[in-house]
């Protein structure tokens, strides 16, 4: 809305309309490479909350994030971010929208050519002509928030996985976005780094009045941070609720996913021909053997 918004001036306005969902997904259908990823999904991401999207591997959680940011166009359905239908946007309008969205990539995606400082400063330098002094102050403030002000002059190759993720987080929020998307932020982190990132996600969301979408597998971690959890499986939303509700829910999906059973609605076996047939036994031998 305000293209040169640097500080978060629109926070009160946002709080006023917090009843409406910031992201609304309606009837989303996606087919990728002949495989149906989403088969009519409806989602509401409430403002000011942390919403976790969970589900078995390969259910397209990352694809959903790519839909929300317009990197990937769906085959059918509506995705409204702050009232704007993303799939209909032109490239320029999409870029305008993305300036208000922060995205934390699974592998941090820091630019290898630039130092930590320049990485965090990158969005500022690209979009705003600010005096060097102000850039420096903003960047150092954000780096302080993620606890890496001392690492400003390091190169990305010198960072550990957890540090890189925190730098990427600082970069994602450098322009005070209205929405931050976290793609698997806990993957490959040791418990200490995981807790640091978790705490950051929670505090940033609360102090800056952001809306966060969190894609993750780790239910233990998610349940400590998320306000709302969507469980997606088989191209549909199979469960929705607070972490507490979901652990107590009486559905086969939630039981398998949160209980961590190897077999269940998500089968242990990849769909295959009959086992005996595959091994070369004639099909009719099976009943004989059984008898």
């Amino acid at each position: 809305m305000e293209p040169n918004r640097v500080t978060d001036a629109s926070a009160p306005a946002r709080a006023a309309q917090s009843d409406a969902a910031l992201v609304q997904v309606r009837g989303l259908r996606t087919v990728l490479g002949g495989k149906t990823i989403f088969d009519g999904i409806d989602l509401d991401i409430p403002r000011g909350k942390i919403t976790a999207i969970m589900g078995p591997s390969g259910t397209g959680k990352t694809t959903l994030l790519r839909h929300i940011t317009g990197q990937l166009m769906p085959d059918a359905g509506e995705i409204r971010v702050d009232g704007i239908n993303v799939p209909t946007l032109s490239r320029n309008a999409l870029f305008d929208l993305r300036e208000k969205i922060g995205f934390l990539f699974q592998n941090s995606a820091l630019l290898t050519d630039f130092s930590v400082f320049e990485n965090v400063a990158f969005p500022l330098r690209q979009h705003l002509r600010l005096p060097e002094e102000i850039v420096r102050n903003i960047v150092l403030t954000k780096l302080q928030a993620v606890g890496l002000r001392g690492a400003a002059e390091l190169m990305p190759s010198e960072l550990s996985g957890g540090m890189a993720r925190r730098v990427a987080l600082a970069r994602a929020m450098i322009r005070d976005p209205m929405l931050i998307l976290y793609d698997e932020p806990f993957v490959g982190l040791d418990p200490i780094a995981l807790n640091q990132v978790l705490k950051l996600i929670r505090t940033l969301n609360d102090t800056l009045g952001l809306t966060s979408i969190l894609v993750a597998h780790e239910f233990a971690a998610v349940s400590r941070a998320a306000d709302l959890v969507y469980l997606i499986a088989g191209g549909k939303v199979v469960a929705r609720g607070t972490p507490d509700e979901l652990t107590r829910a009486d559905s086969a999906w939630t039981k398998q996913f949160f209980g961590g059973d190897a077999d269940g609605p998500v089968p242990f076996q990849y769909p295959a021909r009959d086992y005996a047939t595959d091994l070369g036994f004639p099909p009719r031998m099976q009943p004989e053997r059984a008898a």
Binding site: T69, Q71, F95, D96, R98, E99, I101, G102, F103, F105, Q106, N107, A109, L110, L111, T112, F122, P123, Q126, H127, R171
Partner: protein, 256 residues
């Protein structure tokens, strides 16, 4: 079974690649105005693809010139025409060897590094990250490297030519005792600025564009795996060599 199905699709794949590369050229050209905002990035890329290739270009230029000097001196002496050494060496360099050899070296030195770098950026989501930061990677990554190739290539070819002539002079005049005045005067009387030097510059500019385009395209469209990046760098060298030599023939036919 799969081999039968693959055969026709392989030709279609090749056609699709060429088509995609052509479309990519238009995308890059469309992004060039936007990339002027990132002019510093273009400067940095000229440094990487141009200045960093200087050592190999200069070394190879010197040796190519020396070999040419030696070989042609021997052949020309059969006809008693060693006086034409300067002319023949400089014409060979300006018209063909300078642009072509520089382009091949450029593909091997700068093209591969462009492909590998962009492929790695793709594999580590850096390109997607730029998109998410509302920075067009076409304008910030692809176009500057493309422009840098166009700008750096003719300059490198000129350096190559100068070193080549120096090498031929070293062999012909300093070692084999050809008269210095004859060497230069024969060269200057038969080499034409427009027909030879400037046409060579056009050629190398076109080669620079082709090599940079192929390198950027291969990096940009590589599958984001380490294997994909490895194949893409190989393809950069193979494709740009073929295209440079084919284009050389076409341009020679037109410019002559």
């Amino acid at each position: 079974m799969s081999a039968v199905r693959k055969e026709p699709s392989r030709i279609a794949d090749a056609l699709a690649q060429i088509g995609a590369c052509g479309l990519f050229l238009f995308q890059i050209l469309g992004a060039v105005p936007k990339s002027l905002r990132h002019i510093k990035e273009t400067v940095r890329q000229i440094w990487f693809v141009g200045a960093m290739s200087l050592v190999i270009i200069m070394t190879c230029g010197l040796f190519v010139g020396m070999v040419l000097g030696l070989q042609l001196y021997y052949v020309l002496s059969i006809f008693g025409g060693t006086a034409a050494l300067g002319t023949v060496v400089s014409l060979a360099l300006y018209r063909e060897l300078g642009p072509v050899v520089t382009a091949l070296l450029f593909a091997g030195r700068a093209g591969t590094s462009i492909t590998a770098e962009i492929g790695l950026m793709r594999a580590t989501d850096q390109l997607s990250a730029m998109e998410m930061m509302a920075v067009d990677p076409l304008a910030y990554v692809a176009a500057p490297r493309f422009l840098a190739g166009i700008i750096a290539m003719p300059l490198l070819a000129c350096v190559f030519n100068a070193l080549g002539i120096f090498g031929a002079h070293l062999v012909g005049v300093t070692w084999l005792g050809l008269d210095n005045g004859t060497f230069w005067s024969n060269m200057t009387s038969s080499v034409d600025v427009w027909k030879d030097v400037v046409n060579g510059v056009w050629k190398s500019t076109a080669f620079g564009a082709v090599v940079a385009l192929i390198a950027v395209f291969q990096g940009y469209t590589t599958p984001p795996t380490s294997e994909g990046v490895a194949y893409a760098t190989t393809r950069t060298v193979v494709f740009s060599s073929i295209v440079v030599l084919a284009l050389d023939f076409v341009m020679t036919a037109f410019l002559m």
